[in-house]
Symmetry: D2
């Protein structure tokens, strides 16, 4: 894994340490950490203890990584833009959480339950013998997993979304406490652009190596709030054909993963769940649903301006980052696009 | 003043204690507090000390109040619905922060800088010789003061608003800390209905004793966040005629109070201010602007779905409650609708 | 279980639902909840879902409870003082988290790893054929589990303790958010008395039905802080014989449960753990250690005034309440003081 | 002023901008800010607006500063250790908030109401024609101002203190929000050493250019809590001669500033105030007392281990930093140790 010391990297370590399919063989991070024990290089932030065997691993140079079947990247965007193509050139399959290449014309932006067919784009990539697959921005995942059943049933014409985003999304040290304690910040740099472009790619189609994005506009307004984990998106949707809140609730409730038969180890039983009693979803009560892999939707109501509105919650560092990447790698494995069983992972 | 022990009541006490026009002559609250010293009856929550002279006042029975020129009501809604008309019948002018009668067909819902002409509705009220005037819901004030310059310049066709609201809006004890610390609640009971109906009354017209509300729909989604004071509204607007963000910013910047010449003591120099650098407005930095009486607008941008979007912040317990009521009373006084100088107030 | 709808009651439900030794047969709460489905009566506050089978149980009248081997009481103190002796009179064994009878001259105040021998006091109780066993105040547990190894090795002469206590200790609705968000409260009513008297009973001895409390004085100062779970106690200790911080650290590290051979299902592998790197223990990182049953001790240092000082952290609603009670019941079962296997519990 | 862009520097700017005695003539900061407009160099964190005239000032090189009567230093410790003596060599009077030289054998550590006579040490300094005066650590100020009346009346034999300290004490960016939101940190690096040595210097005596520190030991345990402003110290004191809590409360209540006749503009009417009702002092309600210059003491009680205990609160960035420095400069001016009237300050 590369970018292993950050907050997403730590969650990747935790998810991969005991993974039934993958074996963590190497950790890499910035040159500052290179050569150190991982246990010394990392400022471990999770309540579950860092496994001793991982703590003893030496942090390696990113450019040395080559002996594995899949590379998980939790790099920052600018490093990722440079390093990930190099690793792919070297024949490695890169599963990235970074934003750098998400909108690249030949890189799948992937949520297994939404657009697993976009994997075919790997056949058209030109990164040498390897490949690159990305997962979306943390908020985008919550938005798109909740839109998917509606898109299938009714079509989407336009989306207004306002977010309430947790501090863990900014990593560590991230947001200074003086800026956010008892306060909110009505801007998260770069976030709105992602929310306004990634959904269309995810809900679009591919043919002959070309992405055709879905055509609806998204207007996104983002806010940082003093919550640790769990991004909430408050959504209003104009549908392709009118539908009542009841109908919408039904299609969300009835939605089942189209890749359920692959039995991906990190896949939740249900990728989206509707709760409709009182002030739900809440980060505190709903973010951890199915190990943070289920998006919770509540307050599904008719909208006096558009057709429909609701609130969705996604665990931003699990389904929105570490869990998203692991699930993508599992999809690759199940699709026969990685090396053999007991895969070695970096 | 009636409802004097609550969080809004306390701020009314603080504003009226040194008021240049009004003199606080009586305090009333629920029967639980009746007969006590105010200092003993109240759980004082403000950092500024409770003035000794007020602490010594005896809390009276609401129904006894009659010797004053204006009654400030910070009652809960159900009590207000019953008590306020009785006081008006007794010849008193009631300036209310309660929601009970805001949408009453003959009661002005008033923001002096927005619709001072609605005062003429007092001539058509049928509460005996007295009268009732109300101020809007705390979030509504932030929304409408920011919409007003846009409505004047471009017209409003539709509004989507998502709020991030402070805990002080729920009073004391209000929101349990276990529910909100490090959490958000995506529902504030009753709040969305107010945000979806009050703006149209405020931006509507009156003629011959009849209100004609403005006709645009509002879709409101409300959230409680762990902030003490300051409601933030994230707004998307469809305008009557298209306008760029730059034009919108100009009309907001150029907006001046139409009642500035009345020199109302609690009126801010500028009711709305635009700030356009980075993550602003913030509750921590902007809520107290001009003693909490100025609404701050930031992030004015074009909207890919509607025409315009922005974020506005209102101090919910000042401009959104106590300050709103005092300002309304000052307007009544300036309009000659209260008794003589050195007015006695309850 | 009685008092089943409160915050401790909910954690008891969660611990007992899947318990290997106990079976939850009845739930009782205040008359307000009586006759309702538990799922309807409770305001469930835990992120793990309420088990369906428990949700369907009917909440019963406390006074009707009689068909079980052990009654867990999470009642408030005044109700407990009245009800618990009645249940014991009826022949039931009451395992109580309430403070009412903790200092009663014949009721064991019990931490299995500290004073399991105090169980013999049950032979001298006069509550009819039943019995009553209590666990300590949540902060006391953290203090005493950390003092126990020191008391054994060096003796205790005096203790100064200042606490930083989580809001969950006050239950729900408990502390109003307006009082604690971004604030601290330097007083928790009733808490200091408990911290100043319970440790001596716990670390004292019993003989012939008489408790002899340990004789050291405790000075306690308590604070509420905006933390959800995890009470921190900052301790200075005057020892019976001088010891260095290193020696103290060793005896804490070497401490093992004297009842480890009973294999109590809720007992942690290690009741006390020393961590000595940087700012630890922290509620966020350390409270959940071993399902919240391990007390974490850090910053063990020499004290320029007394001999020794350190900081200890206890999960207040697990090791300090629900887990404490379940562990006490397990000790009773292992000691043959409950009915048969597959015990029925209320 | 030097170190003008930090959190303490900003408060100094605010206090000096309108100061009746001082005129702000130059601002200096790190080389990163040099040459910029102050308004561009600073990340302004205060709710009151940055004055335009100050925003336009150019940030200068620290080493160029020479045209003023007093230099306020809000530098970090390592820079201060190097720069402050250089400035003094150049003939400037340096009033420093930095910790670097507080314990220097010839530098007064000063709280005007506690040890104004220590100013005589300036006559024995060897920093050329200038001089250096320091104020204590933020927590020390709260501790010592509350101890002073007790020291005068009863003598002090030993002190145990546990602190709950606000995040503003760490400056900006300071404490990462991920570390402190809903959490506490039981260690503030370097803080305990200051609390254990500065009080003795402050409460000691000077004679012939030699400090004789007071001789009581202090044991300090420090905690960071999620509070914005206001350090709380929980104190147990062994007195020189026994006194009841009532007597202690009286001497605290009766304490008046020994330099009251100097009419220092930033001096509070009362440097220490006792409040004794319920959970007080609280950061939220008490930190701002007299513009943050008054220490509030509550919960004065007998101690079962020592003689006395209580809780004191100090506004850490005002009385504990910016206000402390300004008050020290005012004392210097009143003592005739600065240049002429309308003093120029950096």
């Amino acid at each position: 894994m590369i970018g292993a010391t950050g907050t997403v990297g730590q969650r990747l370590v935790r998810r991969l340490h005991d993974h039934p399919w993958f074996r963590l063989t190497a950790l890499a991070a910035s040159s500052r950490s290179e050569g150190k024990r991982y246990g010394d290089a990392v400022h471990w932030l999770l309540p579950t203890a860092l496994p001793d065997s991982v703590a003893e691993m030496e942090v390696r140079d990113i450019r040395e990584i080559d002996d594995c079947d899949v590379v998980f990247s939790a790099l920052g965007s600018s490093t990722a833009r440079e390093v990930e193509p190099l690793l792919a050139q070297r024949g490695l399959m890169v599963v990235s959480n970074a934003s750098a290449l998400r909108m690249h014309p030949r890189v799948p932006l992937l949520i297994p339950e939404v657009n697993s067919d976009h994997l075919d784009m790997l056949d058209h990539q030109n990164f040498g013998s390897g490949g690159i697959v990305t997962n979306p921005n943390c908020s985008t995942v919550g938005l798109v997993l909740s839109l998917k059943p509606l898109a299938d049933a009714f079509g989407i014409e336009a989306v207004q979304v306002t977010t309430l985003q947790a501090i863990s999304g900014a990593g560590h040290p991230g947001v200074p406490s003086l800026d956010i304690l008892g306060n909110t910040l009505p801007l998260i740099p770069g976030e709105e652009e992602k929310l306004e472009t990634e959904p269309q790619k995810l809900l679009g189609t591919t043919a002959d190596g070309v992405f055709s994005p879905a055509r609806f506009p998204v207007s996104a307004q983002t806010n940082r709030v003093p919550v640790v984990d769990g991004h909430l998106v408050s959504v209003s949707v104009k549908l392709g054909r009118a539908a009542s809140a009841e109908e919408a609730r039904s299609v969300i409730e009835d939605f089942r993963s189209p890749v359920a038969d692959l039995d991906l180890p990190s896949a939740p039983l249900r990728p989206v769940v509707a709760v409709d009693e009182g002030p739900r979803p809440q980060p505190k009560l709903d973010a951890d649903r199915e190990n943070g892999m289920t998006v919770t939707v509540g307050r599904i109501r008719d909208c006096p301006v558009f057709d429909l509105r609701y609130v969705a919650l996604v665990h931003n560092t699990e389904r929105g980052a570490a869990g998203a990447a692991v699930l993508n790698a599992e999809l690759l494995a199940a699709a026969g696009r990685l090396g053999g069983a007991n895969r070695r992972t970096t």
